[in-house]
Subunit: 371 residues, 2 copies
């Protein structure tokens, strides 16, 4: 009979595109004994999680809660609730996760228009304006922080243009929320979702979503039922909202962890946290330059939370990543799709974003590359 | 500025319909630092989780893994992958969760036939045979252990009849897996799903699913793409299967917990575990009789994992549950739907199924009821 040993994984330093490292306080909260999902004490905790999510999203949106699945579940929730068969949808495609938005939209019957820009670049307000003039859309989907390329998409002007065309703005905030300002209300983002395993510093398993008044109006006037039962916001809102009607059993321990992760952000302060991410990223980029390594994305549109680095001529990207993992317990990632074999991806998110991790990575990289 | 205090919930004894109590070893595993979702060490852990799930499901099915969501996510995965628009589907309806199967099937365009029996009763093989003679179906859906009523549905004869009509048998095993034998291969169940927060003794957040060869053949010959991206088994199997292609980020910590929960079952032994659940249930039923309380379901079809109890005339069901929670930290639940206000539901599942919990509940019930 086979024996299964005690869990005994290596102490990895997680500097890839996520999961990032989880603060010991979050891990401790995860180990807390459970209460039931309808227990008044859990209902109170749900309220706190919602308040703290509104704080991080910088929104007053009532409909703000975690979807019971990973980041892609949040993406699917956003798509399935706001796209009905035949709806014209404009997706801004410049990376792996915007491709996923296309794929999901098509599955739910969207009349899809793809606005394409090369990987590693971003969209201008004029791009969107011209696309919407050529063909109006009900929803415009765009990724704020592309995990596959490391670009940071400016949204303020784009939001105005999208709304001037009467469309909804749906934004992927997976690699931004908790690491850089997302400012849902100020930017007037209608629908946004994220994941817990990036800048929120929690394990993967929940996907915070927020929906504004304009989008809620659209949701409440759907012509068809939301095809997905599990991701149906009109039903989930009755569990997370005032009614507390049972929908599905919330992942209790994950909510314990998320609350603690959000509490850490609340204690640190949003602007302090954003400064930490920015300063550490700059510190890392300085170090890269000294190693002769170059970020893919120009400074203006470069994400502080995730850096893509051009793999030098003649270097085997995968071999370097494997060596960092095997010899130094450091996880970074290679490229996806168009960037496969051509870039490394380094995440400095949440608890992972620290000077000591950066110095360690630079030192290890230097040795592995023989610099 | 509002302060958010340390997590400090009361030490609840969870004897409701789930979540059940979580073994300290599982909680400890949840607090283990994370590795990445594509780390070779995590890939190895995924293999072990799959092996252990096959052990508990009693199956050789290669496609056996946890869906990254709660039990209802497993239900939706089962429906969305095996029901195409216009497909004739027969759902056996005798409780809240079979209603949910109807709802999900309708959303995905099924040509639905409802075979109804009163809540608290089960289906005979003849029921199914007659229904399929009247109208053939592609998939027959049935709940093995109805969490809303406490019935245990015998499946062996039904499975033969379903297959003699050329249909697939889809079984909800949410409140059975790990508490009573499910015997996927012996019973020839084609598709089954469960939840981690019941008899597997883990927190809610994952939904184990298993799919047999006959169902896989149907999946591989779909006429349309699976509408849900997140629940698309044809893609998820490439992440959990040999290829290890990235699909979505698995909930690492939940997988740590599930592995430990399954390891506890493996150490206890399946037949020993089933005996414990059965013996403790009988011990509880004896105690109920002494209090003059009666289970709703006759012994022959009564689940050992979840007992529904008739609320005596003149007793306020909700008040009793609240008093048990407030004064004794014991959670039991009331009825859902047709059983609202009429029954209590007591779960004795996984780590919750112990003599000490039963004696405590009986003593507290006796005091609250003034017996």
């Amino acid at each position: 009979m086979k024996t299964y040993k005690d869990l005994n994984t290596s102490p990895r330093i997680l500097l890839g595109p996520g999961p990032s490292m989880v603060h010991p306080r979050v891990l401790r909260a995860m180990a807390h004994p459970l209460v039931g999902h309808l227990d008044p004490q859990f209902v109170n905790l749900m309220n706190e999680v919602q308040e703290l999510l509104r704080f991080v999203f910088e929104t007053e949106n009532k409909m703000t809660f975690p979807i019971s699945g990973t980041g892609s579940a949040g993406m699917e929730t956003a798509v399935v609730n706001f796209v009905e068969p035949g709806d014209p949808v404009l997706v801004c495609v410049n990376g792996y996760f915007s491709e996923r938005l296309c794929e999901m939209s098509l599955r739910y019957g969207a009349d899809l228009t793809r606005l394409e820009r090369p990987w590693g670049t971003v969209f201008t307000p004029e791009d969107i304006d011209n696309a919407l003039k050529a063909k109006p859309a009900k929803v415009v989907m765009i990724v704020m922080a592309e995990t596959s390329t490391g670009t940071l998409q400016p949204l303020e002007e784009i939001s105005k243009i999208v709304h001037s065309h009467g469309a909804l703005l749906l934004v992927d905030c997976v690699t931004s929320l908790g690491g850089i300002p997302v400012e849902i209300d100020k930017t007037e983002i209608d629908i946004a979702y994220s994941g817990t395993q990036k800048c929120l510093g929690c394990p993967p398993g929940l996907s915070p979503i927020t929906v504004g008044a304009r989008a809620l109006e659209v949701l409440n006037h759907r012509k068809t039922k939301v095809p997905s039962w599990y991701f149906d916001l009109t039903a989930i809102q009755n569990y997370w909202g005032d009614e507390r009607t049972y929908h599905h059993t919330a992942p209790i321990s994950m909510c314990y962890g998320l609350r603690e992760g959000l509490r850490l952000i609340y204690e640190e302060g949003l602007s302090e946290r954003f400064s930490r991410h920015q300063e550490n990223a700059e510190f890392f980029w300085d170090g890269l330059a000294k190693l002769g390594l170059e970020p893919v994305v120009p400074l203006e549109f470069r994400l502080p939370t995730l850096t893509t680095i051009t793999v030098p001529e003649g270097v085997d990207a995968g071999k370097v990543s494997r060596q960092l993992l095997d010899e130094y317990n450091i996880e970074i990632a290679g490229g996806l799709g168009a960037f496969k074999g051509k870039v490394w991806r380094v995440g400095l998110m949440g608890y992972s974003s620290s000077k000591e991790n950066i110095v360690l990575l630079l030192a290890a990289l230097s040795r592995v590359l023989g610099k």
